[in-house]
């Protein structure tokens, strides 16, 4: 009849059946998210670039032109383009903020479904994150192409996807928690927007870390910026595409520890709590 149902144990097995089911679901949700973004027009992919490019243009105008902020020179020393310094940090930030915000939406998107059929709900969030990474890779590609035009590329560019992946894991960890809490308290999504907009300026994206004063208004500002977990991820990305240096091992280790730790804790929390949410009337 309909399905050719073979015994899973008879097949050459690389993944456990549960892991394979999980992987298929992640793929389905990622496809759904990607289609939702680009279904409406052929130029969808270009439209998706418009937002980050506009952000780069606006911030470059305000900080680079009006405030005359200067960026450190690139590896080949010829381009001191504030916009590119900004862009290299922004790529990572966009991965982070899109996933944190999206997590709550992806959770809502499947919560009715989950009441009718069992599936590991976290796959919806992981799928959304995968779609975000795919979309952001286009931004990253544009950045690298611009750098190539300026003859500022090196093998270190392989660390850019690493930084993006770490940002995604870190964001997913927070997103798991936010999705659970938002399922109960609906204003968490608004709160998240506010926290994220503050967070954006707590990371050296529109400024260089060295101009941050040690203390201001009695607060250890430099220390706060330095301790921000995203700081090291952005440093890795900048080393990769802007300074063309092998990222600092300490930065990489810090970023990886934060990313993996947050992801693991967030996932554990999500798994503990998501069953209860599907039982709510």
């Amino acid at each position: 009849m309909a399905v050719n149902h073979t015994d899973p144990s008879a097949r050459p097995l690389r993944l456990s059946p549960a892991a394979r089911t999980g992987a298929r679901l992640v793929r389905s949700f990622a496809e759904r998210e990607t289609k939702a973004l680009y279904k409406r027009n052929l130029l969808g992919w270009l439209w998706s670039l418009l937002k980050p490019l506009t952000t780069v243009a606006v911030y470059s105008l305000v900080f680079g032109v009006i405030y005359r902020a200067t960026a450190p020179p690139t590896a080949n020393g010829q381009a001191e383009v504030f916009a590119l310094y900004l862009f290299s940090g922004l790529v990572v930030w966009n991965v982070f903020s899109t996933i944190v915000n999206g997590s709550m939406r992806w959770m809502d998107g499947v919560s009715e479904l989950r009441k009718k059929i069992y599936f590991p709900t976290e796959t919806a969030l992981v799928g959304g994150a995968a779609a975000t990474l795919l979309q952001s890779s286009l931004e990253a590609l544009v950045l690298v192409l611009i750098m190539a035009v300026l003859v500022n590329v090196s093998w270190t560019v392989v660390f850019l996807p690493v930084a993006m992946l770490l940002a995604a894991l870190f964001a997913l960890g927070l997103g798991f928690a936010a999705a659970i809490v938002n399922a109960r308290y609906r204003d968490i999504q608004h709160l998240t927007t506010i926290v994220l907009s503050v967070g954006f300026f707590m990371v050296p994206i529109v400024y260089t870390p060295d101009i941050v004063p040690d203390r201001a208004y009695g607060l250890p500002v430099a220390r706060i910026v330095e301790l921000n977990p995203l700081n090291s991820v952005i440093a890795v990305a900048r080393d990769a595409v802007y300074f063309l240096e092998t990222p600092d091992v300490a930065d990489l280790a810090t970023a990886a520890a934060w990313a993996i730790g947050t992801f693991a804790v967030g996932l554990a929390f999500f798994r503990r709590r998501s069953m209860a949410i599907s039982e709510e009337p």
Binding site: M1, A2, V3, H5, L25, R32, G109, K116
Partner: protein, 252 residues
């Protein structure tokens, strides 16, 4: 490969299962409300099932009867893994395909075809397996070209037919059906019943929740009667259904 070929006789085992739902009236839905209503919470617990034990033999057709709110649907959801029991154990051996309520398990924004793949993934089937079942699913459901339209525009009949079509065409080892057949027209109902018979003769275990006692008598090998979360009796369909009907018509 040296293992003796012994198929587990019990497809579903329910032992001492209780399920408690937490109901919170006027539950705060935002941080703001939670802060404002601090300390004033009205939490109630509802026992949907109490110490239910039963076994369902592999390949049998099991019926569940009882009044509304007696816990039938909760039991089915526990079997489907949608909820976890508060206490006790529930084991379902084999692939469980559940058809609970109208249009169970569809994502409204996705097309019918995408939903079929998504459902397949949830049931542990590969895209290839689902692709090979696709024609049967579309044909059985009768949704035709609408398969590529988002399911949110489907009529309730189409929704239900596609849901049923997926549930039965994935060769489930255990099929859970919750009162859904009643939605379709006469012709579709007949096809559903025929299909369930076919699955059962192929070794599928079927659990049916229904208020249609004539149907239950007709189809089921064993029937369980749930009353207020307790299993009142389980066994021969005629005996259990008779007892249930006597109870149902009795003034309480």
């Amino acid at each position: 490969m040296n293992e003796p070929a012994r198929a587990p006789v019990q497809a579903v085992e329910v032992s001492d299962v209780s399920k408690r739902f937490r109901l919170e009236l006027n539950r705060p839905t935002s941080v703001k409300e939670a802060v404002l209503s601090f300390g004033r919470r009205d939490v109630r617990h509802l026992w949907a099932l109490r110490d239910v034990s039963l076994t369902i033999e592999k390949g049998s057709f099991f019926g569940l009867v009882g009044h509304n709110g007696s816990g039938k649907s909760t039991l089915l959801r526990l079997m489907a893994g949608i909820h976890r029991p508060t206490s006790g154990r529930i084991t379902a051996r084999g692939r469980v395909s559940a058809l609970l309520e109208l249009g169970s398990g569809f994502h409204p924004e996705l097309t019918g075809r995408e939903n079929v793949f998504l459902n397949g993934a949830m049931l542990g089937l590969s895209r290839r397996q689902m692709a090979s079942a696709m024609n049967d699913i579309i044909e059985f459901s009768g949704v035709g070209d609408q398969i590529d339209a988002p399911v949110k525009i489907y009529s309730s009949g189409m929704y239900m037919r596609l849901g049923f079509s997926v549930a039965v065409n994935v060769e489930p080892e255990i099929l859970l059906v919750d009162e859904v057949i009643a939605v379709g027209d006469e012709e579709f109902q007949q096809r559903c019943l025929q299909h369930m018979e076919r699955l059962r003769s192929g070794g599928t275990t079927i659990v049916l929740v229904s208020h249609d006692t004539a149907l239950v008598r007709d189809l089921c090998d064993h029937v369980g009667w749930l009353d207020g979360g307790h299993l009142r009796s389980v066994g021969d369909p005629d005996e259990v259904v008779d007892a249930y009907l006597v109870h149902a018509t009795e003034p309480t």
